[in-house]
């Protein structure tokens, strides 16, 4: 496993215990989702996985070695995308935002410039490079957050609620970015309560409730387990809810619109 988070306990100073024995793992070329209701400790778990918070108990392993022993150099192997783009973007222009990490890694300014322009083109940001990030729309800001992290090509990509406040077009873009990252052999960890998005992109899913992982397996079996989802105050994907109506007629459990269409088609052809 490329990233392994084991038995994490964490409590904020003067606060309640946010995480109580949480764990998950992610391997190369795999998309892992951690789902759970608001306040279940998902973001804290991600900050710990990125080495930005120190747990009171438990271990984070990056490439079989404790992450703590590899910091701060290991941060170039981990890319963290925050839930709120305004929290992540702190440079005066988008150019500076993308080049922030590159300037630490590349010695020549020419190389930095070349890479920034290449990444900007990939994320459709070329015309916006000289603009301040906070003057962009939420969807464009989200693109910049991805560009600023993927520019230095981390092995692990940690995404905190990547679809929050995004319109349909940008949600699709985010799906594509996640798929490309998986194809490029990165380990992608998503924390979210958007089950529709998770159903589309993830290979494995963990369910977190009150700081503990209450279930973890492949996406299909977790997202179709209504009792497990309701335990974590989550609803199953919309397709599954629709399926309740069709359930008596179907044999398989689709999670996406595409799956539903296929199953329904199969059923229809089967009937013929």
């Amino acid at each position: 496993m490329l990233l392994r988070v084991e038995n994490i306990y964490f409590k904020y100073p003067g606060g309640i215990e946010v995480l109580k024995g949480a764990n998950f793992s992610a391997d190369k070329g795999e998309v892992v989702a951690v789902i759970g209701p608001n306040g279940s400790g998902k973001t804290t778990l991600l900050l710990i996985a990125a080495g930005l918070l120190e747990p009171q108990k438990g271990l984070v392993l990056l490439g079989e070695k404790p992450l703590r022993e590899q910091l701060p150099q290991a941060r170039k192997r981990i890319g963290l995308v925050f839930q709120e783009p305004d929290d992540q973007l702190f440079n005066p222009t988008i150019y500076d935002e993308i080049s922030f990490a590159l300037r630490q890694l590349l010695s020549c300014e020419g190389e930095v410039d070349k890479k920034v322009r290449q990444v900007a083109e990939e994320f459709n940001l070329t015309g916006l490079l000289s603009r301040p990030p906070y003057r962009l729309s939420v969807g464009e800001k989200r693109r910049v957050t991805f560009a600023s992290v993927l520019a230095y090509e981390p092995d692990v990509l940690l995404l905190d609620e990547p679809t929050a406040n995004l319109s349909g077009k940008y949600v699709e873009e985010t799906e594509q970015i996640v798929s490309h990252a998986r194809d490029a052999g990165k380990a992608v960890v998503i924390v979210s309560h958007d089950v529709e998005f998770v159903a589309k992109v993830s290979d494995r899913v963990y369910v977190i409730k009150d700081g503990s992982v209450v279930g973890g397996s492949n996406a299909k079996s977790i997202l179709s387990d209504e009792s497990l989802l309701s335990l974590a105050d989550m609803r199953p994907p919309l397709v599954l809810q629709t399926l309740r109506v069709l359930k008596p007629m179907l044999r398989d459990y689709p999670l996406t619109i595409k799956d539903l269409a296929e199953v329904t088609c199969a059923r229809a052809y089967g009937d013929q």
Partner: protein, 265 residues
């Protein structure tokens, strides 16, 4: 309808924001900052009227040449002049010298002296000229140009980052404060007294402090997440090219400094 305070906060945010312009490629930021410091410092410590008037003219010429918004620019030297005049009003009355006129306020007799008046006018012109020239450079380069110029002078990288963060977050927080104030005002359904208005304002300040703390906490994590060296941020700022305009500006600034030091103006 928004209150005066909410509108003031929004206008203030827009004003700070308006100087957050892209880098001006016409000038080298470092040379502009050096020139701004030389000219502002020289005129602030000058004697007589000649240099302040000359610097005022240069400020206007710079604004006109770079096609910056002169009407907006004018407001700042004017405001500075009004403030400086108000502050220096006592000077003609407290400075001894040739009496121009007497004034009587009941049992208080005041003497208006020529030396005091000269000091007042010199003070106002120096302050106005210093404000005008620095504002001109700020208009031409914007906040980011000034910070880039300071980075070119090798200020610590952390200080540059801090200044850039301020440029981004001051307008954001001003707007947030205005929104919070409007949200509170929208729930006031009767006419309230001034004391109560201050009560509402104080809750906004408290909320703003909490939000600032939260934002700072997350921002620190965001910066650390993309910092890969134990020594922190240590790369060099790419240096901008030096053109003929930059050399002319620097030569002029140095000439002004020399003639001021030699007491020629």
């Amino acid at each position: 309808m928004k209150s005066l305070t909410a509108r003031f906060l929004e206008i203030l945010a827009a004003t700070v924001d308006s100087l957050n312009i892209g880098l001006n490629p016409t000038f080298n930021p470092t040379i502009v900052v050096v020139s701004a410091l030389i000219l502002t410092g020289t005129v602030a410590f000058s004697k007589g009227f000649t240099l302040p008037v000359l610097i005022l003219v240069v400020s206007v010429v710079l604004i006109l040449l770079t096609r910056s918004p002169i009407r907006t620019w004018c407001k700042i030297p004017l405001l500075i002049s009004v403030w400086a005049t108000m502050v220096s009003v006592p000077l003609p009355f407290i400075t001894s010298g040739q009496v121009i006129t007497h004034m009587s306020l009941g049992w208080i007799k005041l003497e208006f002296t020529r030396e005091g008046l000269d000091m007042m006018v010199t003070f106002v012109s120096r302050v106005a000229a210093a404000g005008a020239i620095f504002t001109s450079f700020a208009f031409i380069m914007g906040w980011r140009g000034i910070v880039r110029g300071l980075e070119g002078l090798r200020i610590p990288r952390e200080l540059g980052l801090l200044l850039n963060l301020s440029i981004i977050h001051i307008p954001l927080f001003l707007r947030e404060a205005a929104k919070m104030l409007s949200a509170r005002e929208s729930r006031i359904v009767r006419k309230i007294r001034l004391k109560e208005v201050w009560g509402v304002l104080s809750t906004v300040v408290g909320d703003l402090l909490l939000r600032s703390y939260e934002r700072t906490w997350t921002l620190e994590k965001a910066i650390r997440a993309r910092t890969f060296t134990p020594t922190g941020l240590s790369w060099k700022t790419p240096s901008a090219a030096v053109g003929i305009r930059d050399l002319l500006l620097l030569s002029f600034s140095l000439w002004i400094l020399i003639v001021a030091v030699l007491g020629m103006v």
